[in-house]
Amino acid sequence: MSEMTQQQTAADERVKEMSPLRRALIRPELGGICGTIVVFACFFVFAFDSGMFNSQGVMNWSTVSAQFMIIAVGACLLMIAGEFDLSVGSMIGFSGMMIAIFSVTMGWPVWIAILVTFALCIAIGAVNGFIVIRTGLPSFIVTLASLFILRGFTIYLPQTLERKTIIGGIRDIAEGDWLAPIFGGKILKGLFQWMGDTGIIATFERGSRAGDPVVDGIPMLIVWAIALVIVGHLLLTRTQFGNWIFAAGGDAQAARYVGVPVNRVKVLMFMFTAFCACVFATCQVMEFGSAGADRGLLKEFEAIIAVVIGGALLTGGYGSVIGAALGALIFGVVQQGLFFAGVESSLFRVFLGVILLFAVVLNTYIRRMITGER
């Protein structure tokens, strides 16, 4: 009998040779890569001289894309682990508001306010995860509840404490704080000053800042985004834990049977998603100096859209952080680029829908290729 198998091994006519092209096609990032190229090509043609590709313009869509990237990394890993978090947007509003309440209303040092807020948000993420794991309810529903609960508190707390829904003045308090610049600061200021001096990038024409470069550094928001993408990508593809994330989302039961701690993986991913939302909020609060009750509205869907454009499956078990990052880039570039191209802004949603639809169709096709379904 074993001879028979050997023979079959030698000549299994059913294992088709795969062309390198086809192999390249079945990567989750493929849709994202193609989309990025197409989107940039389009805007190069239609909006090149609109200011989209000058230093201010590049910084503008980079910042917006970086925002999407930060929440997309969390949403991506969570989606691959087989769960959703619809409370991301509310979490952004909530964590920003908590930083403001801790630092402005309660007068804590900003770094303590930030650290406590991070701890609080990660704990809420863990609670989300535990409820999902313990009850077995779809995370969709559980986090939908958190969406409302957190948003409610984000409006209620500042109203009760400060009688208003926007708490400002954080920039002044954060002056001289050691932790705040890690979220709200800028790096490479010297380089940009030099580029401004040598005329590579434009400088301000008037006012007290005349002569300063229009872009005076890379915001930490972008640094965070790149760092999270790299860490997320390595975690997912190059570590044991990454394999567990795939396994937990691919088939939780099968993963449990081989000893993967599926529950722990999922809870940790909920916590990581909350962490990403908190990074987003902290960067925003430190940059703008205020927290508002309406911050982060609908951001959960934007994160999910970026992840799906980036090739992840809504059903879990498949996806890529790099893809999600490209999805976020596409999202950001299209959103801001349409303004540059002078397209009526209400059409943005139309484009978003069209891109999303294409991404989903493309992903379905890729998955069929991978699993060999017809």
Binding site: V39, F204, G289, Q336, Y365
Partner: protein
């Protein structure tokens, strides 16, 4: 391969998109108006019509932009984007000074002229280096309305706030309360924007607080369902009802006597004037010497004709 075709198709869709190409004006002045309003806020339609008309009248192109969800942080990015695209001027609201002052000051410093419209104050406009402020100071308008109501013998009220996270709306309520000389306290209702919810919440509030003298709504979003609520519980025409802003339903209600007065901040002026002022400034270097208060104008049952004709369009 099919995936490649799909991607190309995405490109094709982008390519054939209706790029709004405004009629070429003689000297190519282009302005951007940035608002803080979410897509769903129909009140801003008047603004859109106002800038379109002004653009036609003086021959400039004006684009309207807003954060789709009304997130002010997103609005900051839109102002940055608008500045980067290098228009001649930006007309923007100043819905949150902390968030928007930075991007606006950057725009001013990079050579783009700015006029603040609608939300914000004259002081804030001066601080960010804007040319001027065109709008209705919200607190003052609320205060004026409060004084008026006090004169009519009102001592308690309900303020129906449909966007409670928007500070300027809270200021209207606060101003009204201060004008009346009462505490705002529990009088402000977080109604949300869904018409059915607004209606039910108003009815519930009025049935638990039956001795409420007056209702103040902050725009068509809260006024329209409130009118229905009052008609349903029989308080229409009986309870003292004032509202901010106008709209078709509000005008009808004023005519019917359900609404005593509407505070018209005249958004048309907030949109039309900045465009015209800026175009003349850029062409001939002339600029009015002061800020312009577009409101409050109290609209009552007398003299409704023009309002009725253009409600929702220019009024």
């Amino acid at each position: 391969m099919r995936s490649l075709i799909a991607s190309v198709a995405v490109g094709a869709v982008l390519a054939v998109a209706p790029v709004a190409a405004p009629a070429m004006a003689q000297d190519d002045l282009s302005y951007v108006l940035v608002s803080h309003a979410p897509d769903s806020d129909s009140w801003w339609n008047t603004i859109k019509n106002g800038i379109a008309l002004a653009g036609d009248h003086v021959g400039v192109s004006v684009e309207y932009r807003n954060p789709p969800t009304g997130d002010i942080a997103d609005m900051a990015r839109i102002i940055e984007q608008a500045a980067a695209s290098g228009p001649n001027g930006i007309i923007t609201t100043l819905a949150d000074y902390d968030v928007l002052s930075g991007p606006i000051m950057d725009a001013v410093a990079s050579g783009v002229d700015v006029i603040i419209m609608n939300t914000g104050t004259a002081d804030q406009a001066r601080e960010v280096g804007a040319l001027m402020y065109v709008g209705q100071p919200e607190y003052d308008a609320g205060y004026a309305a409060g004084l008026r109501a006090k004169g009519d013998g009102i001592t308690s009220f309900l303020c129906v706030n449909h966007t409670i996270q928007q500070p300027s709306l809270v200021e209207r309520c606060q101003g009204f309360a201060d004008g009346l000389g009462v505490e705002l306290g529990e009088s402000m209702l977080d109604s949300g924007t869904d018409p059915a919810e607004v209606k039910n919440k108003v009815m519930a509030y009025l049935s638990t607080n039956p001795d409420t003298d007056a209702v103040l709504t902050l725009g068509p979003v809260s006024a329209d369902p409130t009118i229905q609520a009052l008609e349903e519980n029989g308080m229409a025409g009986d309870i003292y009802f004032g509202t901010f802003d106008l709209g078709e339903e509000i005008v009808k209600a004023i005519k019917a006597g359900t609404i005593k007065w509407g505070i018209d901040q005249q958004p048309f002026l907030q949109a039309y004037l900045p465009v015209v002022i800026m175009a003349n400034y850029h062409r001939y270097g002339v600029l009015p010497g002061n800020n312009i208060n577009s409101g409050p104008g109290f609209v009552t049952a007398d003299g409704l004709e023009k309002v009725e004709m253009f409600a929702g369009e220019y009024r």
